[in-house]
């Protein structure tokens, strides 16, 4: 192989390799990932009818757990499930109709207000929308 040809091939080859090394991430990037888009602050917490009255479900909202309650009157209520005392996960207690934190006996009403126990602040409430088959929970404005 002549020297000139070698240089040309070398240049062409290395250029091609470099371009390929840059093109590979580009192609993989533009092909949509398995999860179609970013989770917005509007989460489908449950399917309509999934929860019977006077029961609850814990679901992921952003980076923290949240509570979806179907009250005994059939109303849907959503709040953060992170207790304002020491961040334990709260749950809904069907017997008393209140939200209870098992760690230190904290108790909240369905509006998030502290009824008793050590929690120093109320639980943040969220907006619930039923759209067709899904129950959507989103942050209040």
């Amino acid at each position: 192989m002549k020297r000139r040809n070698f240089v040309n091939y070398f240049l062409g080859g290395s250029l091609f390799a470099t371009v390929a090394a840059f093109l590979y991430p580009v192609i993989r990037y533009i092909l949509p990932p398995p999860q179609a888009e970013a989770l917005q602050k509007r989460v489908a917490a449950a399917k309509a009818g999934e929860l019977s009255p006077n029961s609850f479900k814990i679901f992921k909202f952003g980076a923290s757990p949240a509570l979806l309650v179907n009250t005994s009157e059939g109303q849907l209520v959503a709040l953060t499930a992170v207790c304002t005392h020491l961040t334990c996960t709260v749950r809904y207690e069907p017997d008393s109709g209140t939200i209870y934190c098992p760690c230190h006996n904290g108790r909240f009403d369905l509006a998030g207000n502290v009824i008793s126990g050590p929690p120093p602040a109320p639980l943040e409430t969220f907006k619930v929308e039923v759209v067709g088959e899904d129950i959507f929970v989103s942050k209040k404005a």
């Binding site: 240089v7 240049l11 470099t18 760690c103 230190h104 006996n105 929690p119 120093p120």
Partner: protein
């Protein structure tokens, strides 16, 4: 037009005539010869005048006369200390002195309708009250815990009765070995308490709901809880542990033997964050207090310890993997969230040990480990991704370097050809 000086003078005189009575009235109304005199004295006699400025009673419009009587309008000492003057009460009479108002619900209602008026009644049931009745004046009276002239409500952070000041207030006597010599009760409660997780919550985390002395011993009716009632006291804040304990075999056993439920394993003042090694058969295990080696409970204790220990170790392993992946730059917030949830499960498993039901524990731990395997898969994938990135970087860099070299050679070749 300039007014005549006569008109101006009359105006000034009129103004003064109007102002003077008002001025005098306000001055006289506020005249407090007690404070005026005592402020000029020294040391102990000056202290009341200085500290009363911050007193809660002063904020409600009360003054020296409301407790001590006398005539504050009089500057002359003898006239001021008239026949209504009560002076400073003797120690043994202090509770009744304060109760003159504080046990009068009709009077207290006019200031704060929600303030309790049973303090004296409760005090009389307490050890302090009982000993005082027998003539022991070394015990605590109202002023020892509340202060005397700069009294603040328990909501005020500088108050002696504010939650995080309470241990120090009680400890002033109860930690003083010389003072407590004759009472034959320990004096290490304060030092023990200070090492506890409750003290940490109160002093370091500033969690006002954390128990201080009065949370378990009561305020005015202060007394050590009976053996049977210790469990109820703890259940005020830890009901689930109590419920689980009651379901298990220990409850009946402890009650029959007269052991206090929670205290046997957790202590009473130096209550530490429970360690997993409190379970089982190791040197720190509380089970060994009663159960002999080789007995059935001994084996169960070991089993429970292993269940919890294994689960915790698995969580820690995965935690380390995720941290490693994160340090290497891979985004792992999703598996971290799942691990948080599994950690919550660990907390409930630890709590569940109070019921001593191994079958139940095994089921919960299996549940946790299943979830954990998902996290582990994510963590391992993240570490593989980190490795992939580094490999990709090496490859791309090598190609770039090769390209640079090729480019250089080509330029040299072109320059050689053009004969430059």
């Amino acid at each position: 037009m300039a007014e005549t000086t006569m008109t101006a003078k009359w105006k000034i005189a009129g103004a003064l005539a109007f102002c003077l009575p008002v001025l005098c009235g306000t001055l006289l109304a506020q005249k407090n010869s007690c404070l005026d005199c005592h402020a000029k004295l020294e040391a102990e006699l000056k202290a009341p005048a200085d500290s009363f400025k911050m007193d809660v009673h002063q904020q409600f419009g009360l003054g020296c006369v409301d407790c001590h009587g006398g005539n504050p309008a009089q500057d002359d000492q003898d006239r001021a200390k008239d026949k209504t003057f009560r002076g400073a009460p003797k120690r043994a009479a202090i509770p009744e002195f304060c109760a003159r108002c504080h046990a009068d619900s009709g009077y207290i209602k006019t200031f704060n309708p929600r303030l309790r008026v049973d303090q004296l009644e409760l005090y009389r049931t307490s050890r302090h009250g009982q000993l005082l009745k027998k003539g022991d004046t070394k015990v605590a009276v109202c002023t020892d815990c509340h202060g005397v002239h700069g009294i603040q409500t328990a909501k005020h952070p500088k108050s002696l009765t504010f939650p995080w000041n309470v241990p120090q207030t009680c400890g002033r006597c109860h930690a003083d070995a010389a003072l407590m010599k004759d009472y034959r009760i320990p004096t290490d409660q304060l030092s023990q308490y200070k090492e506890s997780v409750h003290a940490q919550a109160l002093f370091e985390k500033k969690d006002m709901s954390a128990p201080a002395c009065n949370s378990c011993h009561g305020n005015h009716g202060a007394a050590p809880p009976e053996v049977k009632s210790i469990a109820f006291v703890c259940r005020q804040c830890h009901p689930s542990a109590g419920e689980l304990f009651s379901k298990g075999p220990h409850k009946k056993a402890f009650d029959d033997m007269g052991f206090s439920e929670c205290e046997a394993c957790h202590g009473k003042h130096k209550i530490l964050r429970p360690a997993d090694d409190m379970l089982g058969t190791g040197k720190d295990a509380v089970c060994l207090q009663c159960h002999e080696a080789g007995s059935k409970p001994f084996v169960t204790a070991g089993r429970i310890h292993d269940l919890v220990g294994d689960f915790r170790a698995a969580i820690e392993r995965n935690q380390a993997l995720l941290e490693q992946a994160e340090r290497k730059g891979v985004e792992v917030s999703d598996p971290k969230y799942k691990l948080q949830e599994i950690h919550t499960l660990l907390v409930s498993v630890r709590n569940l040990t109070h019921a001593l039901d191994t079958a139940d524990l095994e089921q919960k731990v299996t549940e946790g480990k299943t979830l954990l395997s998902g996290v582990q898969a994510s963590a391992e994938a993240a570490l593989r991704e980190a490795k992939l990135r580094r490999t990709g970087l090496v490859v791309a860099t090598v190609f770039l370097i090769l390209f640079a070299v090729a480019f250089y050679l080509k330029i040299r070749q072109m320059k050689g050809r053009s004969g430059a």
